[in-house]
């Protein structure tokens, strides 16, 4: 075991002491908890000021302006823009009379974030989610006679190694294309056979999802998923709750 420096041993005990101070709040509020809480807040403030300065403000503001003063490319002078905006934020904090200058950096940041969010959520949360919600409800079973490794891997009880062995056995013509046939494959190790055996099942397991017909549990689940999504959308957009329903609910579902 690596030996610790003495100061690190002291530090470990300090950590233990502060942990117990905070846990003491479970008994009741007390001076030890308050001390630990205020120390934590204070240290956090100093910590984040240092991190923000050296990781962001120093390279992107101080070093850029220093490079500009040092005769670098004109683009370094663009750092004057965030400098001016930052100073406007400082003025807002320290002066009530000139607090209005703080509106410029706020307007800049809030508008930029708003602009970024518009396209981001439209694509990721509207587009992609609507596309998924409109996916075909009909789910066919996976045909073990023709499916690729990539198609076989997500099946319950399959790993990429098992999928490759099934495809190899299939190509060699020595494979019965059923879940039973997979479990009986001679090339599987005992552990792999165990994984397959663990995931057999006629409702949701390997037996249900493989074959030439339909995967009924999947179809039912997809119908429920679509109905659930539509119902929730109708609830949010058209407030389908009736007065009687609201009266029955009476406040939050789990309120005291």
């Amino acid at each position: 075991m690596t030996e610790l420096y003495f100061i690190d041993v002291v530090g470990a005990w300090i950590g233990i002491f502060l942990t117990l101070c905070i846990l003491s709040f479970l008994y009741k509020d007390n001076p030890f908890y308050k001390f630990a809480e205020h120390l934590f807040v204070g240290v956090s403030i100093g910590y984040l000021v240092s991190q923000q300065y050296y990781n962001v403000m120093r390279p992107k503001l101080v070093d850029e302006l220093a490079a500009g003063f040092g005769g670098g490319a004109w683009t370094h002078w663009l750092a004057l823009v965030p400098l001016v905006l930052f100073l406007a934020m400082v003025v807002k904090t320290v002066s009530r009379k000139f607090a209005w200058v703080g509106r410029y950096p706020l307007a800049f940041v809030v508008a930029l974030f708003a602009g970024l969010q518009i396209n981001a959520v439209a694509q990721a949360e509207l587009g992609a989610q609507i596309k998924r919600a409109m996916k075909d409800i009909d789910t066919k079973q996976v045909d073990l006679q023709t499916a690729s490794v990539a198609r076989l891997t997500p099946l319950p009880g399959f790993t990429p190694a098992i999928a490759e062995k099934v495809v190899a056995a299939r190509d060699a013509g020595a494979f019965v294309p059923t879940a039973e046939g997979v479990q009986a494959l001679p090339s599987l190790t005992d552990a792999e056979r165990g994984i397959v055996a663990d995931n057999r099942g006629t409702v949701k397991g390997l037996d249900a999802q493989t074959g030439k017909g339909r995967y009924w549990f999947g179809i039912v689940s997809n119908i429920l998923l679509l109905l659930g999504t539509l119902t929730s959308l109708l609830y949010f957009y058209f407030s389908l709750a009736t007065r009687a329903w609201s009266a029955r609910s009476r406040g939050s579902a789990c309120g005291s």
């Binding site: 923000q52 990781n55 390279p59 974030f113 981001a120 694509q123 587009g127 989610q129 990429p160």
Partner: protein, 306 residues
């Protein structure tokens, strides 16, 4: 004046000191650590999908790892980080690591020293069997060298904006330097890496905001990125739709999923040990719900009869 009616046991229990519940929870957390139960762990489909996506990487591939967390989330996320680093290192995948949380850098630097610059499971590690490569040789991980096998870019503030910046100009966001000041042009694994889409895979370890959600919103759809992630249990339900829609190729949610991932990687660790704590503490919460409702209904029926 008549003596006040003694409180019924349901009324007494409904208002009893909650510190007894805290004590019960405390025992539920401590005792399983002292007396392990060691129940078997079976990986769920989301965890398996993430594992196989990482497993499909080839030696020499370069992966971007975003570690966005704070000390409070390490019990849920450090085991996943350890497991995925073992998985990546034994495949000799190169790593580019960064963070968007201000509380993360010292933690990430410690993990880099412990898990990346040292082997996690070298040859001879008890209880660990390395998987075999295509030639049948066991794949062990090794000590990675800074700026040769991995790059630590550091921290940048900015929430969704910094993630958008990574998507369009990763080098500019980090001022063309690694955290130790080395110019990115001087680091071979950064050759040709200007945006997130230049990486084979993104591994996102996130505890909240900004995190996986912001990566999906800002960059995944726009640049069609391949991403796997790990998050806290609380955020799993929020991110599961992204996995179902194919925007995430795998998702490990919480301590239980981290234990499942450890099982898949083949090196049980902290999460597997802590899974026993999960068992007992969940049981305490369930008993609290059931018992609380039992007292409530008995009390309500008694009031209705009177």
């Amino acid at each position: 004046m008549a003596a006040p009616e003694p409180k019924h046991w349901t009324e007494k229990l409904q208002s009893f000191d909650r510190r007894w519940i805290f004590l019960a929870m405390g025992f539920a957390i401590v005792l399983p650590l002292l007396f392990p139960i060691n129940l078997p762990i079976k990986p769920s489909p989301m965890v398996q999908a993430g594992f196989y996506t990482v497993e499909a990487l080839q030696p020499g591939d370069v992966v971007f790892v975003s570690v966005d967390l704070e000390p409070a989330s390490t019990p849920e996320l450090e085991p996943y980080f350890r497991s995925v680093m073992l998985q990546l290192k034994r495949k000799n995948v190169k790593l580019v690591i960064a963070t968007t949380w201000y509380a993360a850098p010292p933690l990430v630097e410690r993990w880099i020293r412990e898990m990346i610059e040292n082997p996690i499971a070298p040859e001879g590690t008890p209880g660990y069997t390395a998987p075999l490569d295509a030639d049948g040789k066991p794949m062990y991980d090794r000590a990675y060298k800074k700026n040769e096998d991995y790059v630590w870019l550091g921290f940048r503030e900015g929430k969704a904006a910094v993630i958008s910046g990574l998507g369009s100009d990763l080098r500019g966001t980090f001022d063309n330097r690694a955290a130790d000041g080395t110019p990115l042009d001087a680091i071979p694994i950064m050759n040709g890496k200007k945006q997130l889409k230049d990486f084979k895979l993104l591994v996102l370890i996130s505890a909240g905001f900004p995190g996986i959600k912001e990566y999906v919103q800002q960059v995944q759809s726009r640049y069609n990125l391949r991403m796997v992630g790990a998050t806290t249990a609380v955020s799993t339900t929020d991110l599961a739709p992204y996995y179902q829609a194919g925007q995430l190729l795998g998702l490990s949610g919480g301590l239980a999923a981290a234990a499942e991932y450890e099982t898949m990687v083949g090196k049980p660790g902290l999460a597997t040990q802590a899974a026993d704590v999960l068992n007992v503490s969940h049981l305490v919460v369930i008993l609290a719900i059931v018992f609380g409702n039992f007292i409530f209904f008995v009390g309500r029926r008694r009031k209705a009869r009177r």
